[in-house]
């Protein structure tokens, strides 16, 4: 008995800070171990991904303890290393906002690490799996540090570490030219965003005089409006690049697909969320009472990203690029919730602001789960068929039944269909937007239902896109010999997917229970707690605080379906007792033999949408026929279809050309003559002296 009590004492006395520290050390150990055992790939893989799994579980527990402790519990602080220079301290702190994102990174980290135990075997003998494990751990470490950093210096350090490790992972298969180009683009964009952040933080530092995040709380009130707006714009650009807001998104669909699939899952699920974290931290914590245009800008940016993200996703037939574009869409949906929350803070509706925050944050968790799941599924498919091109897949539901099941769950969730988690968070977003209409009398309020309608368009297009992604990849006949010879994924890979699939189901069916985790967060950022008002009927129904404004119960809908199931079954028993079922060929207009070439292709599937939105896509096609005597009897046909990526062509290309031209002009300064350089130094010295006077 005393043993048991002693154990219970130990378990209850475990502090979130201890767990967080253990988790950070674990990642560090995993990274070092991966490098240390680099030459023995089996051991290195088991060690580094095993360490990552355990560390992630520890982090998950820390986040849960912190958020489950309710609002108002003090944020534990931790000094990682002794300070080298007095003001530059390596401190981390776990407040509610950090804890929530710690939860996201740890949940996804745990599932992906389990998956990677099997997935990394695909690199044995080809690439160094130990190196992959080391960088993977370093990336998890850096991302976790970004979420819990407690001062500007620590945050920027973690941010840079994250960008560099992510760059190494993106260019992991650097022997392909496509990968190298993607890596360079990623590198450039991450440093532009780091530059914006440094400038933004300098503006904040100027007002506060201290590096710590605690001293930055509400610092916006001490700044002049012009500087405050400038800081907001800089942060919006910096964090916007990280989370892939249109038009700053161009690196995302290029860099995510070329990385190994477990890394893609981590990048799309968590890494881009550092942008959301930063934006929330800055807008809700640092900059103080927001003017109206901040919220409207974020809402507009979110709406545009959501619609354009899904439209470009529909045009893809590369499975991983398709998923990457969907990340842009989902970031847009998250930003819609956050933007609406900022507007409500401006109009003085903290309760609605809390609702908007919950909508955005719930979608953040959900997106991490289903996008992680989908990327892992895509990784399993890639592993089995050795191609990312959907036109060469097909028939995989029979060859990889479990992977197909998990992918389908992810597809239903991301398409915001009931009863899974995507539906719940989009329901909350819709409700936020609808409630927003009544908060103000100005013309701005039309923006809310307008965004709601665009959210509806996004949802429906996402459903279309995932009918395509699942249908072309997993259904019908295999379109290539490789797809025909595909095999089910390794057990650990399936286990990793199962964890995330279970998370999607649980987050979908029991939203009212998870809503409680947001109490500390909304208390911290908008000053109210909402969970008790959102959860009706013992947590089985999700409802709105306003009397009878709307309620939903995904569990109730599922139970309804289960209760109604006897009807079709009884119909079969009563009427269809004599009916038999047999297999037969598919109708092919009476012709014998249905070949995979007759199936609908991914490009064909999205053609109506390409035609409807042709003003955006500017589709071009090129058909070449070879024939002997009549064009109607072609011996050979070549078909090429191409769409224009507006932002790359119209925005970034002219920009790049201008920058290159400018740098060519500046090059004239570097003439290679020592006399000229001496002159420069002299002029610089003079200028500095004049400046000092």
């Amino acid at each position: 008995m005393s043993d048991l009590e002693a154990w219970a004492h130990i378990v209850t006395s475990v502090q979130p800070a201890t767990l967080l520290g253990a988790s950070l050390c674990g990642y560090g150990l995993g990274a070092v171990g991966g490098l240390f055992f680099m030459l023995r790939e089996k051991l290195a893989t088991a060690f580094s991904f095993g360490a990552a799994t355990l560390s992630a579980l520890s982090g998950l527990l820390a986040g849960l303890l912190m958020l489950g402790g309710g609002a108002g519990s003090p944020a534990p602080q931790l000094e990682l290393l002794p300070a080298l220079i007095p003001s530059l301290r390596f401190t981390v702190r776990l407040d509610a906002l950090s804890a929530l994102f710690l939860l996201v990174v740890s949940l996804l980290g745990a599932a992906i690490s389990i998956y990677s135990l099997g997935y990394a075997k695909g690199f044995f003998g080809r690439k160094n799996a130990g190196l992959l494990g080391a960088f993977y751990n370093a990336l998890l470490l850096a991302t976790t540090l970004t979420f819990v950093a407690d001062n500007i210096w620590m945050f920027l350090f973690a941010w840079e570490l994250m960008a560099l490790t992510a760059y190494c992972l993106v260019s992991f298969e650097h022997e392909k030219p496509e990968t190298r180009q993607a890596g360079v683009l990623f590198f450039i964009m991450s440093h532009i965003d780091a530059g914006c952040l440094i400038l933004g933080f300098l503006l904040l530092f100027q007002a506060s005089g201290d590096y710590s995040f605690a001293s930055l709380h509400g610092v916006g009130a001490a700044m002049s409006p012009g500087k405050r707006d400038a800081a907001f714009v800089l942060f919006l650009l910096g964090f916007g690049i990280k989370c892939g807001v249109v038009p700053l998104h161009i690196w995302l669909p290029v860099a995510h697909p070329v990385a190994p699939s477990n890394v893609s899952a981590l990048m799309s699920g968590v890494l881009i969320k550092t942008g959301i974290y930063g934006l929330t931290r800055v807008c809700f914590d640092f900059l103080g009472a927001p003017p109206l245009w901040w919220g409207v800008t974020i809402l507009a940016a979110g709406t545009i990203s959501a619609v354009l993200g899904v439209l470009y996703a529909l045009m893809e037939h590369d499975l991983k690029r398709l998923l990457a574009y969907h990340s842009i869409e989902n970031i847009g949906i998250i930003l819609m919730g956050l933007g609406a929350a900022l507007i409500f803070l401006h109009t003085g509706h903290p309760l609605l602001a809390a609702l908007g925050l919950i909508a955005g944050m719930y979608h953040t968790i959900n997106h991490a789960c289903f996008k992680g799941l989908l990327f892992l599924g895509a990784g399993a498919v890639l592993h089995a068929t050795h191609t990312r091109n959907m036109e060469e897949m097909g028939g995989l539901a029979k060859r990889m039944p479990q992977t197909a099941c998990y992918f389908l769950l992810g597809a239903v969730a991301i398409s915001a269909l009931p009863p899974l988690n995507g539906f719940v968070s989009e329901w909350l977003t819709y409700q936020t937007l609808l409630q927003g209409f009544g908060t103000t009398d100005s013309l701005w309020r039309l923006a809310f239902p307008w965004s709601g309608a665009m959210l509806a368009l996004t949802g429906a297009l996402a459903a279309a896109c995932f009918v395509k992604a699942f249908g072309i990849t997993f259904l019908a006949q295999p379109r290539s010999p490789a797809a025909g010879a595909a095999h089910e994924a390794a057990p650990s890979m399936r286990a990793g997917m199962a964890v995330l699939a279970a998370a999607c189901v649980l987050l979908g069916l029991f939203p009212a229970l998870f809503i409680r985790l947001f109490d500390p967060l909304t208390q911290q950022l908008s000053g109210v707690q909402l969970s008790s008002q959102l959860s009706l009927n013992h947590g089985l129904v999700l409802g709105l605080p306003a009397e009878k404004a709307g309620s939903v119960s995904t569990l109730g809908l599922v139970l309804t379906g289960v209760c109604l199931l006897p009807i079709p079954l009884a119909l079969r028993l009563v009427f269809g007792r004599k009916a038999r079922t047999r297999r037969g060929p598919t109708w092919a207009c009476g012709q014998p033999g249905l070949t995979p070439q007759m199936e609908y292709t991914a490009t064909g599937f999205s053609k109506p949408i390409r035609m409807i939105f042709k003003a955006l896509f500017r589709p071009r096609r090129d058909v070449q026929r070879e024939y002997d005597f009549s064009p109607y009897f072609a011996t050979n046909i070549r078909f090429q279809s191409h769409i224009e990526e507006v932002f790359v062509e119209r925005l970034y290309r002219p920009l790049r050309i201008t920058i290159l031209r400018g740098s060519r002009r500046i090059r004239a300064l570097q003439a290679g003559s020592i006399h000229a350089y001496l002159l420069y130094i002299f002029v610089a010295l003079l200028l500095l002296l004049l400046f000092a006077l």
Partner: protein, 314 residues
Amino acid sequence: MNLDFPILFAQTALLLLLAPLLSGLIKNWKAKLQNRRGPRVWQPYFDLLKFLRKDMVLSEHSSWIFSVTPYVLFLTALAAGLLLPLVTAQAPLGLFGGVLALVGLLALGRFFLALSGLDPASAFGGMGSSREMTISAVAEPAMMLAIFTVAIAAGSTNLSQIVLASQGPGWKFFDPSRALAFTAMFIVLMAETGRIPVDNPATHLELTMIHEAMLLEYSGRYLALIEWGVAIKQLVLMALLANIFFPIGLAPETTPATFALGLLFLAAKLLVLAGAVVLVETSNAKLRLFRVPDLLSAAFILAMLALVSTFLFS
């Protein structure tokens, strides 16, 4: 949470039994208007019975998705119907979700049906799925915006609340925002139920069919479930349109007398709406596929105007 079981059972039975009748009625009236005798009003019941008894042929290329879809489609349509105030102002399962859940459930059914179109590896099915998902995507914003107009006026997405709010003394149909929203919703209804300016329910011509193309490989019991589910979906959408915009006659509390009266009013509203559908179907030609988005963007603009006029006149 207390469920009103008699109403729950009554509404389930009503949805199951009324849906084929509504389809039969529309078919019969359409034939009459075209100077044909047409099938009997009861014909869909006989069809369903026959399909249920028939042997079934499954495509050799199809997977388990193909077998799950009929159940998903049938159950989602039925569950969506239970979220709707059909005869009584209080929907039997209104607590489980409002108009967003209703639209979501119907979308779930469509998602699975479109997957099943791709499953048997036939080009027709893929074509149907592609077009169905495209048209629904273009119809969705118009539908949501029209729904938002009434939801914002009622301050709720709960359908019973919407109905009760518009039943109040302030209700008048010729409120411009309501009339505009109704028109938008009617256009969406024609698209969602696969009716003539958008899709021809009677055609089996490869190049024009949308909905039928996805069902091509279904037979026997599964076909019966799908046909029935689609009929229920049509009933749900028509009743949604009728009851949101004309909430008269919905029984405020459930006594047998008010229920019977409510039933009578529902029948009258559905008959008028079915008449309108028949008229539109007979007096219009099917649009070319790429003209359909024009029609649906007109619906979207009407819904937007409805919203703006709420803003102007309130």
